[in-house]
Amino acid sequence: MIVQALAFYLFAAVTVAAGFMVIAARNPVHSVLFLILAFFNAAGLFVLLGAEFLAMILVIVYVGAVAVLFLFVVMMLDINFAELREGFLNYLPIGLVIGGILLVELFLVLGAWAIAPEAAKFASTPTPPVEQIANTHAIGQVLYTKYMFAFQVSGLILLVAMIGAIVLTLRVREGVRKQRISVQVSRTREEAVALRKVEPRQGV
């Protein structure tokens, strides 16, 4: 038990610290690396909850794909972050004050935490015990049935994101030479080869 508690506090503390560093780091590449660290620790928290599927998904999708993509983008774009940060300090005090107030209030909220007693019966999808069913299986069971609506709408959202990316970035350039295999293959000898009689000392 104590090991679990220690692991929880370790992961949680590192996650928060890494999250802070994401916005505090001077070098944007470092920021992304801290983001990856935060993802890893969040995955660790999922493992502690027994949600090993989510943990792995987090590592594979977020760390493996999303964050790495971020990294590429940040490295390729030549952004002068120092310039963007100018004036940042001017707003630090007021930001800190507002953030501090919100934080204190949220702690107060947490202090009074109690799930409403009537809520128990609404836990309509109780997590099945791990012994009975693996949680990958459990997610699969509800994802396409109970949450089909949400799943499909998410699909539409991704479709919009895709269309958006294409609309905003795809440019049809003039004069781009593309390989057209069908044309290449269907070329005949007649149109490809022309016999010319070349007179001496005259050229074509």
Partner: protein, 475 residues
């Protein structure tokens, strides 16, 4: 499952239509834009028919609610989107951004709005909101070679992400304290009173998220910049349908799951409404760009609509729905006129360019005057009735101060609307605009003008429809 699908038939139909048109557009190329747009309008009209055919029921495990309230809002949304598409083609062609993705994106955004107003669960709410917003972010930046347009898209996207974050944060707080995300469940848990403060804090965050979408103060800051920067047809779309959706969502969320905590949330809604009305009235006076002016005007109008929400009774809901229907018409019409502000050198957005319009283009000036008087709430134009029903509800709910502030800010607001009328009718003419060649803009503007002008003759269908819708939401 079949019953669930039947329930969501309008949305599914629209989604399939959007995808079919997308594929068609990809194969047919850019020349197909006009056809895709026409087909999109037909599909939206068909969706209206389908919406009318739905019976009230709940599906998809409580995530999707079909009732008269939702159907009323959906019809407004579908009409708003259809009109926006109809008005957009000429502008897109002139600006060289006539691309078939535009109508498709608006359709997808419309699906998002329909999911929003039908949401029966915080998850569905968030997904609908995100689908709606994402498509609009893209549309705002649609004129990607223009710095202003891209800036608008980017600003809207960044701030929208922040607001989504707040909304999710609030939803998770609510879930954490109430133990459920379903509206029906929340209503049951929260009806007894003695609400945990965590739910209340969560509600504040959710309110912030939705208020951002309908650009209510103090979450309105993006509005003027984005309205000004985005291409005009996109602005006209943003100012109409999504606003209807966001306010309808506001009502559904606050009156159904959180209906038991009216006394608590009314305090913030009142503040939001007052701030919006005051800001909308005062800030608009200083504007010289007509789209920016309309942005502030829309902020003010959201404030008026929220008065009806603050009343938190059937009459209030009815008032807001009538208000939205009328607002939709006035707004679409005004943007129709703005889309006619075209010279050989390009589109104009300066208010001063309207000077003397009554002499150079009397018909256009008359239409604009009708919309301005209506937006200012001058009887017997439609805008007056919108305000009237909402203020009545507030008075009957005992919110006298709110109603008085509403009336006072209407008076201040009338200043800048009437200033435009004065400019058009009494000032020396500016360089005249080119004749309008786009039939879509003409037809929509005239239709909106006639509706605004003659609403008072036969208001019964809309009033009765809103009454039925309000009864469905608050039995």
């Amino acid at each position: 499952m079949i019953a669930d699908i039947a329930l969501a038939l309008p949305e599914i139909f629209l989604a399939v239509a959007a995808m079919v048109l997308l594929v068609f557009g990809v194969y047919a190329g850019e020349k197909s834009t006009r056809f895709v747009a026409t087909a999109a309008i037909v599909a939206l009209a068909a969706a209206i028919v389908l919406v009318l055919g739905r019976q009230a029921a709940t599906g998809f495990g409580g995530m999707f609610v079909v009732d008269a309230f939702g159907s009323f809002a959906k019809i407004l949304i579908l009409v708003g989107t259809g009109l926006a598409i109809a008005m957009s083609l000429g502008y897109l062609r002139d600006q060289g951004i006539e691309r078939f993705e535009f109508p498709v994106l608006l359709m997808l955004s419309t699906i998002g709005m329909m999911i929003m107003v039908s949401a029966g669960d915080l998850i569905a709410l968030y997904l609908g909101l995100e689908l709606q917003s994402l498509a609009i972010y893209v549309c705002a930046a649609f004129k990607r070679d223009s710095t202003r347009s891209t800036e608008a898209g980017l600003k809207y996207f960044v701030l929208g992400a922040l607001s989504s974050g707040m909304l999710l944060y609030g939803a998770s707080l609510v879930y954490g304290f109430a133990g459920t995300t379903s509206f029906a469940g929340l209503a049951q848990v929260l009806q007894g009173g003695g609400t945990p403060i965590g739910v209340l804090v969560g509600l504040v965050f959710i309110a912030a998220g939705i208020a951002f979408k309908c650009s209510a103060a103090p979450f309105h800051m993006w509005t003027p910049d984005v309205y000004e920067g985005a291409p005009t047809p996109v602005t006209s779309f943003m100012a109409a349908a999504p606003k209807v959706a966001a306010i309808a969502l506001f009502m559904r969320v606050f009156l159904v799951p959180f209906g038991g905590m009216v006394e608590e949330w009314r305090q913030i809604i009142v503040v939001i409404a007052v701030l919006s009305m005051v800001l909308g009235a005062f800030a608009a006076i200083g504007q010289s760009n007509i789209k920016r002016l309309m942005a502030y005007s829309s902020i003010g109008h959201v404030g008026y609509a929220l008065i009806g929400l603050a009343a938190a009774n059937q009459e209030g809901v009815r008032g807001v729905l009538i208000y939205l229907a009328i607002y939709l018409a006035m707004n679409v019409g005004t943007f129709g006129v703005i889309l006619c502000m075209r010279r050989a050198t390009g589109y104009s957005e300066e208010i001063s360019d309207l000077a003397g319009l009554a002499r150079t283009r009397p018909g256009l000036a008359a239409a604009m005057a009708v919309f301005m008087f209506s937006l200012a709430g001058v009887p017997p134009l439609a805008g007056f009735f919108g305000k009237f029903y909402v203020f009545m509800a507030a008075v009957n709910a005992g919110l006298y101060v709110l109603a008085v502030i509403g009336v006072v800010t209407s008076v201040v607001g009338a200043y800048y609307y009437l200033r435009i009328v004065k400019l058009m009718y009494f000032d020396a003419p500016a360089e005249p605009f080119a004749a309008n060649t786009d039939r879509g803009v003409g037809v929509v503007t005239v239709a909106a003008g006639l509706f605004t002008l003659f609403f008072f003759v036969y208001p019964a269908p809309i009033v009765a429809g809103a009454q039925i819708a309000a009864r469905a939401l608050l039995p």
